[in-house]
Subunit: 400 residues, 2 copies
């Protein structure tokens, strides 16, 4: 048995962790654009990165830290994060910039050990090194300003994404806090997803990466943020073991809760999005097929624009399922908008009254579209959003 | 040696073929919405259909005609086409509607042999049978009104798509004419592509389907209109052999010319699109990888919205290549907007002057974005368009 209690403080909520956001002038005006996470003691750092072939310089640097340990983790007590510039496709120079920044940090703050960084923003532009270095002197390493850090990593995000829990379990109490950024969750979008999680739970070094991958598959990967992604996607889980408490069941539950909440926040904050839609594919032949179909729905332009138009266009839903390459048949398929069934095992129930009810559901801010394939037992739920004028506006203007 | 001469007349240009469009009241007002193609003599009909699991009733019907011949073709002298209603996901009743319409046609016009039909429009609504049957008496089987037929099959198309050639070759002269519809060419779009080709060339029964598939791969499939598609996609090639002429080289060249022109028309007419963009991926490891990367570019939302914003955002181009799952490396990649190189084998050339030139190219109505992977010898060119406010408007409003 275990209990979760909500905490404020986000990424700096867990004991021994500190964080802050400062304004280095990368964003216009006095907005925060540089964040850091600092731990008094060295942490084990578990990680997942993008599969994009052109992984950004900070990812290359972090992978080198991992490679040096000859394990699948590394140890660090400091993560630097900048927004506005991805430091991707910047070649050898981009990597040297990271090396220089890390060296400068260590020289300026001797308590910083084996730091690394993450970046998000425009691709193919060298980092404004001087501005970033100048910001270092603004750092108060013992600040508990998780909220400012969460603001500093935002790009096209329309709201700040953070969460923290205290967890009571048989062996004691631990804390877990997190922040993330990501808004262009539209697969095959390339908008970066960065997620940082800091816990004082004493995760065994050999278990963290597996727990992280498992939680990732059921949370961020359900919102079309997955391997087929940006140059910069990164999830880091820092464990300073300060609580001396570890309960695998409780920790993996809490980790999933944290990542689920952040993933839903990203789906809600789809660039220019108005609606959060859960696409549930039920009774598929197997899990992979359920996932494939659910993600085909959440990424279909025609489905997304119909949702924007508040049109219960079940034909586009059906056609997307048919085109997704999975096993299915007209005679066993059923389609629901929330609880309203519009198509049931080959029979079109979409008369005037049914359409009226479905149209009411489409007006909601959050809704669920269910496709029951009726041929197996496996299910998957993907999250997506509508695609409207604002998506176009944001993405046509991004660099300016 | 052979020569191509442009002809007017579209689908009814070839000898012995007739076509017309009539207004049956499926579209609002007096717009053409029913088309037919008629041949004095029986034709061999070669065909390609969607891979969508929920293929529409007219496709199921046509596949049954093919199955009955125990070959991969069928013979017919009449094709009926309606727009505004896809007759897809309409179950047993939808198929019975097709059977009834074909039966009625044969009874009303005894010269019609083994007819079939194609449909395009909204999914999941039964055909307005009475209106369609009533339109049959408007048919003038000997009309040479290919242009009206091409208008009748349009849905969200903003212009009519047709072409015809007379071909002179060693063994004589033949004609080939065609029409198609398709506008939502955005992969993974589900907007239907219908294409009809009528020729008096004497194509051997065993060769037509192979020629058709080959031309399809190099034309329509290059504009993201492929297997992963709508419930109704259909390409039919009718050969009445009236010219008694066949020259394989000349015919396959002419067929490809016809289909290339129509495919480009579809790309140009991407729903709400302003620009036609060729995405050329060069020097890939193999053809499949070149195609995969080119199509990843032509279907990326972020690339498409950047094109709409006339932003030479080469970072999104590079990132899309990196995410496409193909073999590539930063150090060997080069990116061009038309002739302007913005990134060359790991070096960013995108200074102020370069950006100014690239931005000028982005203002053009037609442009080419080239990614030279620099690791092999194979190339593929995909065609795409921008994604702007009008795409959203058209697709949010489609059913109304």
């Amino acid at each position: 048995m275990f209990k979760l209690f909500s905490l404020s403080g986000g990424i700096s909520a867990a004991d021994g962790f500190f964080a802050d956001g400062v304004a280095a002038g990368l964003k216009n005006g006095s907005k925060y654009d540089i964040a850091f996470i600092y731990s008094e003691t060295l942490c084990d750092v578990f990680s997942c990165f993008t599969n994009n072939k052109f992984d950004a310089a900070p990812i290359k640097y972090t992978k080198r830290l991992i490679a040096a340990t000859k394990t699948d983790i590394f140890q660090s007590n400091f993560i630097l994060i900048n927004s506005k510039n991805a430091n991707a496709l910047t070649g050898k120079g981009g990597l040297e910039d990271v090396e220089m920044l890390m060296q400068t940090l260590k020289e300026q703050y001797p308590q910083i050990k084996n730091p690394t960084m993450s970046s998000t923003g425009v691709i193919g532009v060298r980092l404004p090194i001087a501005k970033i270095v100048a910001s270092f002197e603004l750092f108060d390493l013992y600040a508990k300003e998780g909220h400012k850090a969460a603001q500093a990593i935002m790009t096209t995000d329309s709201f700040c994404k953070e969460i923290a829990f205290e967890v009571e379990c048989k062996s004691g109490t631990f804390k877990i806090g997190a922040m993330c950024k990501g808004a262009g969750m539209i697969h095959p979008s390339l908008a970066t997803m960065l997620c940082f999680i800091a816990t004082d739970a004493a995760i065994p070094a050999g278990e963290g990466n597996e727990l992280l991958r498992k939680a990732l598959n059921e949370t961020f990967n359900a919102i079309s943020v997955d391997g087929d992604m940006s140059t910069n996607d990164t999830v880091l889980l820092l464990s300073n073991k300060k609580s001396n408490v570890y309960d695998k069941e409780a920790f993996s539950f809490a980790l999933k809760e944290v990542m689920h909440k952040l993933a839903i926040d990203i789906a809600k904050d789809g660039e220019g999005a108005n609606k959060l839609v859960a696409f549930e594919v039920k009774n598929a032949l197997n899990k992979d097929e359920a996932k494939k179909a659910a993600r085909a729905l959440s990424s279909s332009l025609l489905v997304k624009t119909a949702i924007f138009g508040e049109d219960p266009n079940w034909g586009r839903i059906a056609s997307t399922i048919g085109a997704s390459g999975i096993e299915c048949s007209e005679e066993s398929l059923s389609i629901y908008f929330n609880e309203i069934c519009v198509y049931h095992k080959g029979n079109i129930l979409f008369d005037e009254e049914c359409e009226k009810k479905a149209a009411q559901i489409m007006k909601k801010k959050e809704l669920c579209i269910t496709c029951d394939l009726g041929i197996g037992t496996e299910s998957f739920r993907a999250y997506g959003c509508d695609l409207g004028y604002n998506y176009v506006k944001i993405n046509a203007d991004y660099r300016s």
